[in-house]
Amino acid sequence: MTEHFEVLDRDGAARHGELRLPTPLETPGLVGAVGVDDHDAVAAILRDGGSEWRRERSTPETDPAELTILPHRAFPRGTDDRVMTAFDPPVTALEDPTAAVVAPDTAADHGVDAYVLASATGHVGHARSFREAITATRRAIPDDTALYLPGVATPGNVALLAYAGVDLVDADRAVIRGTQGRYLTPDGHRFLEDLEELPCACEACQRPRDRFDREACVAHNVAALDAELRRVRERIRTGRLRDYLEGQVRHDQWQTAAFRRFDQEWGYLEERAPVFRTAELAATTADALHRPEIQRFADRVTTRYVPRLDDGVALLVPCSARKPYSDSRSHRRFQDAANYRAHVVSMTSPIGVVPTELELTYPAQHYDAAVTGTWTDDEIDFVGRVLERYLARADYDRVVAHVPAAGYRPAVEGATDALDLEVTYTVADHPTDEASLAALADALDGEPQIRVADRERATVRAIADYQFGEGAGDAVFGDCSLEGRHPKLRVLAGADAPAEEGALLATLVPSYGLLALTVAGARAWVDSDVGVRRVHIDDFVPHGSVLAPGVVDADEAIRVGDEVVVEGPSALAVGRATMHGAAMVESSRGVAVDIRHTTES
């Protein structure tokens, strides 16, 4: 049972939480040993129950205002598995806040509030080993418990630690580096004697350079670590830690490598990546291509999404800076020329391809890329491969590619090389010049218009596919009518639908392009043959939210932000997941589902 820690916000694997002590501590946060850490920024709340390598320990005295580290046999990095197995001591959680010392290979649920990763000092600095240690430990301990990495945090690496899923750190390394005359900043470290100017305005750095000694350096390092943690927490609250980190890790090779190692471990990040955010997503580095949100979008567009407007021509157009694309000047001009005689599919780096039905759906209207007019080979390759998979699943008669020569055209060529599709290129110089627009209009001469009603119906179904699974649009909303104007669409039950005709099934949420279901909509999903993301709850009627202890079981496929059907002996409800499925099952604290509608059953 996690009693004294709670996760409040999630941003991928990173969490903003609270260590629930008489004076609560916000996490990711700085902790220190009682009586040792006298810096204001450090919560001196750790009491070490002691090493059992040195002597046998009795049950420690605990205090509700402290986090007691239970007696331990810590295994530093390099300890052989057999030695760990032979010596790993039993752990008994106590009523007051407690933490257990673990190693990645032997970590297990001990019923405590926090876990101390003993080998951290050996892992930090080694990209792969760091990733393996964190992911193995995080998977072995309940999701709603705090992970403490002792002895490793610096202003330079703490954002990466938080991003990986670390909740607690200390000032030990910042202090020790200060005593060695190493001046730490988020962009690395400098030897004090090499610094002509102090690149900081903290209190310690107010004194003249020639009176800035190692004691001042200690104070600065702790202040810089504290400031960086504040930045990290703020970034997590707003869902923008990754945007910061893509730039910040570049100051250190091992951190950049570790960051990419995490991107290679798709499962760990994807499981924790939300299906939507309302925040902007900055796509300004090559690493943005590997973001789980972006990879997921490309994956869903080419596996779940069912093309329904592919009877005629696919019109490939470049993305626009303004989102959604159809609001942009360039896309309006394209449409003026095309006049809805083709299915608009936008090509974009780093998202891949965006069929017009999904232009609202996260992250299609949220990303903001650095526009230079050129694409790297990686971008051309990525967009080309997504487009190829996309076109292979569709049934267009032909393709009109209204795209610039740079980047886009090679991507189209690469994508259509192996496909038996006629491609007409209509851009002479620039997509919005008169000659190009005229060529576009010509290329679609004689093609029938796609009607508004068909586009809107396709939009709702495409989003359902994207959200619930391949073909869900037809399986769940096969018989429906729509109300309102795009993008504020409401989905009503049709005459032959199981629900009463005209009953509201779902609403399209324009700000992130996903459907919000009603109970009738949830029933339609349950009655369909599409896999339902279910949360089984105890015998109660949920209102407002379902807390983790009320969850009996949850589908492992559930991601933060997913629509979920909540079922229990006395209720059927629908809502939005605020944790991933595994976390719902493991956790004993925190909100699991924000409930939208409930019915008693």
Binding site: A33, V36, D48, G50, S51, W53, R54, R55, E56, I69, H72, R73, A74, F75, P76, R77, G78, T79, D80, R82, V83, T85, A86, F87, V101, V116, A118, S119, A120, T121, G122, H123, G125, H126, P150, G151, D170, D172, R173, V175, I176, T179, Q180, G181, R214
Partner: protein, 356 residues
């Protein structure tokens, strides 16, 4: 009959695991050694009950420690330098002694009053060094004042020591006690005997008119710096009652050992020289000669400070060995003392090592 306690059971499991790992680590070594050459010979000065005298130290290559061949101590790599096959005959050992004497003649002005013989095992184990060889060695060094022979406590008995006493040599047995804590000795060092066995060995030595020199290990693997300091201070105080000399030696990283694996993975740092100084200062009042011989000081694999002050602190330690005067440490200062202060205040079992 009482049931075995869980503690004993755990100890057996721990020892099995340590031995299995150590056997594997040692098996990576495929070098071989000449049985007619001693492993190492050197001249030094030692503080003995007779005062500070010149010493001749001989590491005999005997085929190595029986315990190490079963796996053995987590920090000890001496068996790696032993002859394969595990036994060296009398003639070869005689050749090794002759080589050592030649070294002494070449490098010293006069024969050393003190001769110390180590085997990286037990000199008094007759499977390593037979009775004939023991008698030959006693005879060879009969003209010296004092001899020190290394042994595990099991093999210390009055009869064997009489070989040396009878030729008039003051005799000491050097016992690698490592720590007076059975828990640390068993679980961190993986040395099988108990403190009680050590005490029994001191009694056996006493019965033969011999003395004991206890060897302690500062900072075995798994102990944080502060725990290691406390363990050493306690151990010096506790064992000084049973021996006239305590040699407290900081752990260094030896090849083909568990400590080397930990060190390579970033999970072990040899102790600070400031820790050695602190321990010697804090135990200067005990009724025994307390010395320390930091091997490989100043290197990443040996006890070290910041790289700037290592030689100076090492010199102070050597000075202390001769004079037993803690004021020698007041003479050395370095900015890294502040770092060491922070490490000793902050390092715990679970965050070690806090620095390299």
């Amino acid at each position: 009959m009482s049931e075995p306690t869980p503690e004993v059971y755990e100890r057996g499991r721990g020892m099995d695991a340590h031995n299995a790992v150590m056997r594997e680590v040692r098996a990576r070594n495929d070098q071989s050694y000449d049985p007619r050459e001693p492993t190492r010979v050197w001249l030094d000065e030692d503080n003995t009950p007779d005062g500070v005298v010149q010493s001749l130290t001989i590491i005999l290559n005997t085929g190595g420690c029986r315990w190490a061949r079963a796996g053995g101590c987590t920090m000890c790599g001496y068996v790696a330098e032993s002859v394969d096959g595990g036994s060296v005959d009398h003639d070869a050992l005689r050749a090794q002694i002759d080589a050592a004497l030649t070294h002494e003649q070449d490098h010293a002005d006069a024969p050393s009053p003190l001769v110390k013989i180590y085997t990286s095992g037990s000199f008094l184990d007759e499977r390593e060094v037979g009775a004939e060889t023991r008698a030959m060695i006693a005879d060879t060094f009969a003209d010296r004042d004092r001899i020190v022979v290394e042994s595990l406590p099991d093999f210390v008995d009055a009869a064997k020591l009489r070989d040396f006493r009878e030729v008039g040599l003051a005799t000491d047995v050097a016992i690698g006690l490592e720590t007076t804590s059975d828990r640390v000795r068993h679980d961190c060092v993986n040395k099988y005997f108990d403190f009680d066995d050590f005490v029994a060995a001191t009694e056996a030595a006493d019965a033969a008119g011999a003395g004991v020199k206890a060897y302690l290990l500062l900072k075995p693997p798994f102990l944080a710096e502060t725990d290691a300091i406390e363990d050493a201070v306690t151990s010096i105080r506790e064992c000084a009652r049973y021996c006239h000399t305590v040699s407290m030696n900081p752990c260094n990283v030896q090849s083909y050992t568990m400590v080397e694996d930990l060190h390579r993975a970033g999970g072990y740092r040899p102790p600070w020289l400031w820790s050695v100084a602190e321990i010697l200062e804090r135990t200067a009042d005990v009724d025994a000669i307390v010395v320390s011989d930091p091997v490989g000081h100043g290197s990443d694999r040996g006890p070290h400070n910041c790289g700037e002050c290592d030689d100076r602190v090492h010199t102070a330690i050597k000075d202390f060995n001769r004079r037993q005067d803690p004021s020698v440490f007041e003479e050395v200062e370095c900015a890294c003392e502040r770092t060491w202060d922070a490490v000793t205040a902050r390092e715990r079992g679970y965050n070690q090592p806090l620095t390299r």
